[in-house]
Symmetry: C2
Subunit: 460 residues, 2 copies
């Protein structure tokens, strides 16, 4: 008897103090176990004396059904936050559910007070995008967030396992390395501060850093400084472009995974690294985020490419295919448009395509020159998206690099890397949102990032 | 005979095509194995007909000794990049080394051509900081980079294991959430672009986003939108302050780990999460990055705190100790200065100290009010550094939050979170560079980040 009484207290405490995640209840809870859960109501059905609630807590895309024998006529609306306590049992379909002893509403949710998502309604992504702060509450976008998380971790862990070191390259930089005038400048929003820091011969606007400073467009040049000591390095962070593009493929703020490897002399080797990374990360996601990918792609997506060798063709071969076989002539300076890129992957039956050995004039100054005024560069084109990765061997010849530097550069430090313990290096940049778009089959890049920024849009 | 000839080719190929990492050679290579390695020369000693080179390739802080029976008088200087081929053998000290058949210099390195680091010389951090692009080549800083990498991965993986989802909050924001005028504004560096995007009633400078936009000072408010759907979330990325501080504790660009947890009602619970995270990550680093930590701390560092319970005291108790026991009266508005913070951790024998329940006026508007005009907030103070983490429960009462919002705010979206499926939340922000400083015993925060940015300094 004493034993029984002593046993009651801890069980009682556990009931109200410790909550289980819904993914855990669905996967691992035992029938008959008494548990508490917390989450948001995703749907409610009322029958006579029984209320069925689907609850989600973000730990999985799946909902947990909570069944309450309800005589009190408790008001539960979709979107409310609740906690429930009850016993795990099996539903007729064989899924764990909760036979609730009680459900408590913590925060109400009311369509009439302006909640923009009505139950059992489908909304267009453009509509949902107007409510970025509530968007994580929608089913598909919560899956996007979990897959983004999974992809972030998978890239880091793949590279760690393969001996790469993550080096956070700077967001603020005095280089405008691409020189295309597509950079944001950065200035303290405080004129008194600027005045107090003023110096002769420095524009007052530039007084904070003594020089004009910008948001990074790429971490590559900075990353090379670390590759010249740690051999294998990468960075994963935000980059910025001040373009006026409203396309479904562009953002003003986006994430890039950039990798740089020293003692690298072969473009083939770089293609292998790229292909293996993308396949490795994707396989991991298909395995661990099956449900989320299923929801986002509506199970219509074809992942057969993860087991196939990517195609490799030269720029010359690719140009020949788009011009002659697909009758889409190249325009300005021989560049590929998005239309060309998509046509090429379609031509190869939706297998990703490496296009290698580009004309020098198409590519930035730091790419390694090879025969015929070409550079040892590649673009990786993927179905529906076009360019996902761009990379190259870097020019490691001091004089050649010097002769190709943009005018008025501040890149003597970059040249120095070719002067002191120089090694051949190569690397690439992968557009993270494009990767998310690619594997989730998303039409618009703005739906692949929590707070998209694009021209005329920087809400919140 | 045929067999032998056939065998030669693959062995020959392997010799020159496949290189081993030095960490691998030191740990796992077998005596007698023939291998190739690549790296940079860290020291050279010449005796009559033998050259001893210490080579490092960034895979470990340890060097690999390569011994060359050298009749050719090959010129090898410190800092050069080389590759070597030879046989693994044991040194007299029992460490793996290479008896080299050859060493090839790939890129020379010459003090006389301006290489700033002479062999066998120690330099002050301030001197090394003048050469940020070559700094990764120095022993200590390459260790810092590996430990930063390790800490980045460890934070991500700890939080993943504990069910937190990484949500990349925006760098560009239209909120100036702290309202302290310490923000950088962001403007396209292209007047033609701005003109082409101009709208009536919008300042020409703000034409790109239709409103003033800034660099983030914290991802917290944005992170809360995700916590209200995914329950447990975090972000890890750059944040910015436009202050004119030359102190050893501040950067204009720094990294923060921010965490937010929904259904959180107890500050104690938040302290537990914080303490467990910091101890968990630190133990992992002590285990995996032993050599790097040893080099950075010169083995003088005391990590006994990882096995001790952190102290907890209220702001009132802490203020009493610094004022009365340590005779360091508080100044302006009762805030703690760095001096007070350091004195407190010293008083508690270098155990980290949580200071909880702060006066409301000391803290931002979003912190949850409790009794006596206090807020449920904490600062975690650590030895030598002071504040490492700041956190709180968030005000979840709609009316109270509304009444405390800064004037002219654009935070209706933040209020909305308290309107639709509201839940109590809490979280914290941890200064990543301060954490690195803390565990590596580094005096100046500028030596804990690859490209430090501070007033008058934004080189590269």
């Amino acid at each position: 008897m004493l034993n029984t009484v002593l046993n009651v207290k801890p069980v009682f405490l556990r009931r109200f103090c410790s909550y289980k995640s819904i993914s855990n209840v669905l996967k691992a809870s035992q029938i008959g176990e008494e548990i508490s859960i917390q989450g948001w109501v995703k749907s409610v059905r009322k029958q006579k004396n029984v209320t069925f609630c689907d609850i989600n807590d973000g730990s999985t895309v799946k909902h947990l059904q909570v069944v309450l024998q309800d005589k009190s006529n408790i008001k539960i609306t979709v979107g409310s936050s609740v906690q429930a306590f009850g016993t795990v049992c099996k539903s007729p379909k064989g899924v764990n559910e909760i036979e609730a002893k009680n459900i408590t509403v913590i925060g109400e949710c009311d369509i009439e007070k302006g909640y923009p998502f009505a139950p059992r309604k489908q909304y267009a992504p453009e509509y949902i995008r107007e409510y970025l702060h509530l968007r994580p509450k929608t089913k598909k976008f919560s899956s996007v967030l979990r897959v983004r998380h999974g992809a972030t971790l998978a890239f880091h862990n793949y590279l760690d396992r393969n001996g790469y070191v993550c080096v956070q390259t700077p967001i603020l930089t005095s280089n405008d390395c691409e020189g295309a005038g597509e950079v944001f400048k950065v200035v303290p929003d405080n004129n008194n501060l600027l005045k107090s820091m003023a110096k002769e011969n420095v524009n007052i606007e530039d007084a904070y850093f003594d020089k004009k400073s910008f948001l990074t467009v790429s971490g590559q040049l900075h990353l090379e400084t670390a590759a010249h000591a740690l051999k294998q390095v990468y960075c994963f962070g935000p980059a910025f472009r001040a373009e006026n593009s409203q396309s479904r493929h562009h953002l003003s703020e986006f994430y890039m995974l950039e990798l740089e490897k020293a003692f690298l002399t072969s473009l083939d080797n770089l293609l292998e690294i790229t292909e293996d990374l993308i396949k490795g990360v994707t396989k991991h996601l298909l395995d661990r985020y099956t449900d989320d990918i299923y929801v986002c792609t509506e199970n219509k997506h074809n992942f057969s490419w993860v087991d196939k060798k990517f195609k490799v063709l030269t720029y010359f071969e690719a140009a020949d295919i788009v011009t002659n076989k697909l009758s889409k002539p190249l325009k300005y300076k021989g560049a590929f448009s998005k239309e060309h890129e998509l046509a090429l992957t379609e031509y190869f039956e939706n297998i990703p395509v490496f296009v290698i050995n580009w004309p020098k004039l198409e590519k930035p100054f730091y790419m390694k020159e090879i025969e015929d005024s070409n550079v040892a560069a590649f673009d990786l084109l993927v179905p529906q998206i076009g360019e996902l990765v761009g990379g190259s061997l870097r020019e490691d010849n001091y004089e050649k690099l010097q002769s190709r530097l943009p005018p008025n550069h501040y890149l003597d430090w970059y040249l120095d890397l070719r002067k002191f313990g120089n090694v051949p290096t190569g690397g690439f940049g992968l557009g993270f949102e494009r990767y998310i778009q690619f594997i989730l089959g998303m039409h618009n890049i703005k739906d692949s990032i929590p707070f998209p920024r694009w021209p005329h849009n920087c809400d919140f």
